[in-house]
Symmetry: D3
Subunit: 234 residues, 6 copies
């Protein structure tokens, strides 16, 4: 789903940069003779890479920020002179935020709250009508000013900057997402159907790790803690 | 302006393919494992090429149709295996319309009404939730079912197909368009300012061709005819 | 050798699509104005990637099918909008077979018989004069209708579909293959020459795993079983 | 048709380089670790460019020779570091012939016999099992050793070099060629059908230039001369 | 020769940006995690395009400025998201100069003095250790602060900015330049040798335009004016 | 730092190939009609890849040599038909050295002396004015004829071949290198600052491995051996 969200983030960003949507009225890729918009992508993981692919494809001026040097080297290898990669020091992030027309928050730390990389003070330095998209909103968001929104009412404005923080972005392209999800889960479903639940979980620890309750006992630590029930791991 | 409209056509097409906008819920480029959407672009002129650049950039499955073989060869040279080029026979157009998720009408004949290449019967064969964008709407549109719309109310539906037919597409990215327009007109403005109107028009026939009225006489045939006044060419 | 076979598969496929060879008479890449042929590659491993490189290079319309989502994501990253990647569900494979002009079977499971992914019923849906190349034929082939052939008599026809199932494809480009093989085996040869067999095998377990007989005893399980002799592992 | 022939020339070249076809046994693109074959293309016109596209696509080491510097600059712009361009001095051609594994003759001078750029002495310097394809054979060929062949018996050998000189190369991919031809001639056919022959020829001088006989008179100089009949131009 | 000069301009620029040469100590392409240098190229003609190719190749952040919109569109088509194209208004040039690490003057107006696009005041805004290369120096240069230098003493400094203004840049790569020059002049030499001077000039007006003196008379206006002798055109 | 050195190696190589620097007077990328220079890169690690990126970017004819087949396959995947990859047998290296205009030594074995791959006898076969750059000079160099030089006096000549063997290449682009170094070390510095030395080293074994002396004892084997002091590991 990170792939869907990453790719969509540029599409929605381009949309809200349109004048009728309250945006700055710039075309992501510019046209010959008119410079393109600047897109800053915070985080070079799966979501960030997919965002970069779309932003480059739409001919924006793209920079990706990360603190993982090996990852930045990989991105540099793949994208060549089509993107810039910059180490995500606090100083670099502040400059990125100030200059960007479109700012993508793609810092997802698996199983943890996203770090608040961008403060409200930084947001204040952005141009009016700029747009930010917080892909990490499901984990709390990586902008201080973010709060989750829905597809019915997807954006709000803070300090003249449009915030798109829809918690379930892939829902907008439900058909594509359903296929993607199916591709990811089908192998597990087939294992369950062919082997039965017991054997399937013995054979595959990823599957076993997803078990919440069995035999009248809570088997999953997080569920036990959330519900205040005793945990009995298998 | 054809460049702006061509590039925007894919951006708005992607937007209206989203489920919340009434579209089919497909992501233009798909994701790994899920096939991309099919984009058919009718016309390989400036608008069509710019549309193709964006559609390829967003990783759609793109085919461009034209009747100019030399132009198709140029596109093939530029885009390589990233697009398909097909001669725009009636049969090929009918198949293109039927299969496309996003259909771009980019057939602009300078100074003439756009030909109605796509009939309502063809539109009926499209999947529900497909989207078409008529870039040629300023010249009457190249789909039988098109009629001009505005940025306030940009789309309507015919036979389950979303029609985006905004007459002034570049207005949505006013800042980019203003610069582009300025680049195109600045040389004329400088000539007028430096030489005065008379000399500037003598020196530049493109400028002279734009003259409507001077010395109390109508100098432009179309204006004279439209207003029922006598024409007095210089 | 998978690299050689993968690259050759497209070259032989293009050849047998020629009319004089009994094929459909289509040029893999088409020409400007005429759509390219569709190439479906089953399996995105080394052989499949090399086939994809050549098919893209010859400007065909290429789709790669695999059940490994991570691998599909890698291919998508490398090839961008030049190929489509689709999860290899049974449904997707059936559609792929039906539509393809050239079908490449590149499903190689190391040390195991290739799975019969494509049934005869699927083959029957293909257009007359289509071509399939079974790279997995050394392991039994991944099409139900495959049986091994030789360079002297490389193809046969089933239901109007040309089958190329040469068991030793790299032999056709013996010079290239000899160098490739040499590159792969030279390090072992040098170790043997420099250290002697005993030390070389102690130092390198890959080498040791290749030992069949020593000191009058069979050292390799498969050989012992095949010959009905006692195994004495070192 | 030059596009079809240019693209096919690489495909047939790759085929005859196979060992079973009498060729040198090299794979056009090599594999990682084994250098690719060298392809020399004489002539950077439509046929030459299309040959270069395929040869690059199959990962060969490609050089294009021409005496038109502007054309070489265009090719350099398009292909970047993927091909080398060299001015076609006699010295350069001799070196090209000597080093090439696959030599493409694509020097087509419209309406004139192709110049014999490559002498038999040069051919003698080639490696045994090298292949040459003479696309210009319809106009007499651009190799001294060429003579026209057919799809039934397409090749012959001179000094150990395989010569492919089929006069009607596009016939091998009849389906693709038929569509391509149709695309090129359809506009004329439509004009004839809509306007009648007289008006159509008045309206279109390309069409008129094709008229051979009308009103009992020979209208075309070449036909008149060939048949020894009086010419009566319209 | 514009091609040689354009390509060399980036190579010498990269060299003088090194610390030991007095430059700013930045690597043109940066490295992963460190932003590349900014290269501004004034003029999108042959020299400018060749400079852009090298600058992109070395992974710099490249912008090309020109007042010819059609040319900018061509560059955009060729380079895609690898360069930015901006209309060369005075404002845009001032900003370009201020921000650039490497500034290339490639504004060559055939047969005329190069316009002084960049004033000393603009140069003053550049960072210390920046470098400019004036390819137009043979025609007077396009920077106010330029004056011609030689390969023996190629650079000088104004306001902390290194100026490379060698009048005969291609001399540095004499071997490549000699071949290039030969390619350009060989056709004329062959004509002269085959036809004799008189006939060759009759047959080719480019050749005839180069005649200075014949039959005891000065035939070339510029030569006549320069020497104060009477002109007698043929 | 390997990235900086790899990228710089091509830049300095191009510089010393200039005639005024004693080089052969060839432009790395040639120009249309004039073949590019041949660049041979020994070693496909980080330094070698970065050298290849720049050499390809400057349009040279690039071949990379390595004995790691998997690595060559990766390079082939990334660079496609833009480079050639060849297994680094002694024979292949000898041919590479003989033919190269620019030879890059990028064979770095971590923590060991670089192997002397290229003998003086091989160097003798190179053309006068060719250039070699020994990136491995910090580890003793990979050419028999190398000895370390400085930025003040960077090159020397052996058998007519210019040797660039500066031990601290990244120093030439100090600003870029400082940022790169900072990016690599900042995480360790932050750990030290936040946790104190003791805890930081407990938490991070890379950090701990860098400790030389603590509590009056030598903690690092190499330091102890070098100084003849007792080692007391923690």
């Amino acid at each position: 789903m990170s792939e869907v969200a990453g790719r969509m983030s540029i599409q929605v960003g381009a949309h809200y940069l349109e004048k009728e949507q309250g945006g700055r009225g710039v075309l992501l890729g510019g046209v010959p003779g008119v410079a393109p918009a600047r897109v800053a992508i915070l985080g070079g993981g799966v979501a960030g890479i997919n965002a970069a692919q779309m932003a480059v494809g739409m001919r924006a001026d793209v920079t990706v920020y990360d603190i993982n040097n090996a990852r930045l080297a990989e991105l540099d290898m793949f994208f060549g002179s089509q993107i810039k990669t910059v180490y995500a020091s606090r100083l670099a992030i502040a400059a990125a935020v100030r200059d960007a027309h479109l700012l993508i928050g793609a810092v997802l730390v698996p199983g943890a709250a996203a770090p608040k990389l961008v403060t409200r003070d930084m947001i204040k330095t952005m141009k009016r009508g700029s747009v930010l998209v917080d892909i990490a909103i499901d984990q709390g968001g990586c902008f201080e000013t973010s709060h989750a929104t829905t597809h019915d009412d997807p954006v709000f404005e803070v300090d003249g900057v449009i915030h798109y923080c829809v918690a379930n972005m892939p829902g907008a392209v439900a058909r594509t997402s359903a296929f993607a999800l199916n591709n990811a889960t089908l192998p597990f479903a087939l294992k369950l159907a062919n082997l039965g639940a017991e054997k399937a979980m013995s054979a595959n620890r990823h599957l076993a790790a997803g078990l919440n309750i069995s035999g009248g006992n809570v088997r999953h630590r997080a569920v036990a803690e959330a519900l205040g029930l005793p945990l009995k791991e298998k």
